[in-house]
Amino acid sequence: MKSSSQTADPPGGADPIDGAAPAEAGSLAGRSPGQLMWRRFRRDRTGMVSACVVIVFFLLALLAPLISRLYGKDPYTTYGLDRPGLLNEFFYPVKPNGGIDGEFWFGVEPQLGRDVFTQLLYGIRTSLLIATAVTVLCLITGVVVGVTAGYLGGRTDYLLSRFIDLLLAFPAQLSFVAFTPVVYALFVSPEKETPTALRVITLITVMWALGWMGLARLLRGQVLSLREREFIEAAKVTGASPWRIIRKELLPNLWTPILVQSTLMLPTFVTTEAGLSFLGVGIVEPTPDWGRMFATGARHYQNDITYMFFPGIAMVIFVVAFNLLGDSVRDAFDPKTKR
């Protein structure tokens, strides 16, 4: 949402320099816009640091099984229940600070006595998987719908735009909460265990269904203005097929908003997914989940506040890093918007 105001101006202002680049100006400096962007980005120290942090998070998520094997714990074993002395009579960690010690780096979970460190690792893994999937789906949908509406214009544009308006009118968070059980019920079989995958797919579907419109609307606007430009006209005159025009002429000019949007979308989906789990409509036990850790933490905060800090601080770092990364990416693409 908020980025739309910030990224809306580039096609108008920056295009003479950037937009024309792929077609003609490439030969001048011998550098593609991608290379230019990369050079600019590399000079941005904040951007590099936050990129590293983001990469670390993804690596942690990817390598969670390996890390937990090296660490010697898994997120499913109820250490505190199986081993006396870890949990007290109310099933809270006996040791101070949530039971942190050399063995359990982040302490043990209240009630079930699982290892917090591996819970968090695997929780991040679950959440990132969902958020990434939703982001990718939204990007694809947003690009397809936005470009179609913008390029074809006319009645198609009108219908698609009204459809987007309609979906945007749904109260987002409420709809996620309300429709998750609906979609879930469509998948569930009456007997047997419902695989976690189905839950994940449900969450992805719901978030995707109401998550792509912002990007589509933004891209539509950009395509609409690009369509009138000379180089597109030129391509049309030379008899290029619409597909070619979209691929070769339009898309290269849309990379900036797409990339910037995706750096904004991903953390939003991570927090949305966490919010759903916090409200009790997300991923359920025993699958580790970042958001459910907040629900657990909030439930036990009076007796074990330490537990809350691990998922909490991890999420703040993650979102800050992603936001900074988004800013840097935008700056790198669009030197003009830099303050």
Binding site: M1, K2, S5, D165, L166, A169, F170, P171, A172, Q173, L174, S175, V177, A178, F179, T180, P181, V182, A185, L186, P267, T271, A274, G275, F278, L279, G280, V281, F294, A295, G297, A298, Y301, Q302, I305, M308, F309, P311, G312, M315, V316, V319, V320, N323, L324, R339
Partner: protein, 351 residues
Amino acid sequence: MRRGRDRLSDPSRPPYRRLYRKIRDAMLRFLVRRSLGAMVIILLISAITFFLFFAVPSEPAQLACGKNCDPDAIRIINHNLGLDDPVPVQYWHYLVGIFAGRDFDIGHCSAPCLGYSFRNDQPVWETILDRYPTTLSLAVGGTVVFLVVGVSIGMIAAARRGTFADKFLSSLSLVGNSMQIYFVGTIALWLLVDSWGVLDRPEYVPVTQDPVGWFSGMLLPWLVLSIIFIANYSRMTRSLMIEQLDEDHVRTARAKGMSHRTVFFRYAWRGAIAPIVTLVGIDMGSLFGGAMVTEFTFTLHGLGRLAVDSVTQKDLPMLMGVMLFSCTAIVIANIIVDALYAVIDPRVRLA
């Protein structure tokens, strides 16, 4: 163009009186048109929601049936609730009920009839009205806090552009923006309520009953809720103000020797106000629909909580009602914002 605006907004001059009336008419036409559009949107949303909910196999009669329940009883309840009709017919009855009221087995349900809860047979409309003050208090109070704090921070940052204060405030708002209510809220509860006892435990007391209790009960939720919004406003205010300060008319004003303060508040601020109003409208609209996570974190019983509860309890009429109510709130908020926008900035045509 810009200079014209100042004269235009002065209706006391005769030649502009007609123009003023024209604007008012345009405004009226705008409101009518937008309201019609809004009705269509709300109708569509309600239809989609209704069909989605009722597409799910569930046995709502079971909920209403009680313990000594047999298939006959279920059939009767299904009939009484009209659940044995086809879904489109049910939807039609639902719509009619909203405008004309509806007769149920339990009694007549008058005009804005959103049906009865499957769970406790309570009228949906009254339940929503009952929960609404909490949500309203949360939304209004939260908005005041984030608006005042956010805009002030943004203005300070703009006024001291490039200084340490600017950078500090900017990074502060960035971190604030990355906070999650379920995290900050819990930590704040723990620190401010449980450990230090500085603030009261959040609870909703009707303002009419005990204004002080209302204020102290809502203070923490307001503060926490506003943290995540403040960043947006401070960032936006800052960049808008900087932009405005660079505008020709503002520079001219400064060149004419007007005081820094006058320039800042009279000229630059006026230019920045419109986009901020837009954002406030959008945010308030969504808050009116219920801030679920905030209400959950602080165990307040507003619309958001009602929505989540009715989801977990499969209370479809209640959920439908809340959904419709929040959609309406959002759509109305949008219309008001657009209208206000036109009032603040007459360059915007009401078209």
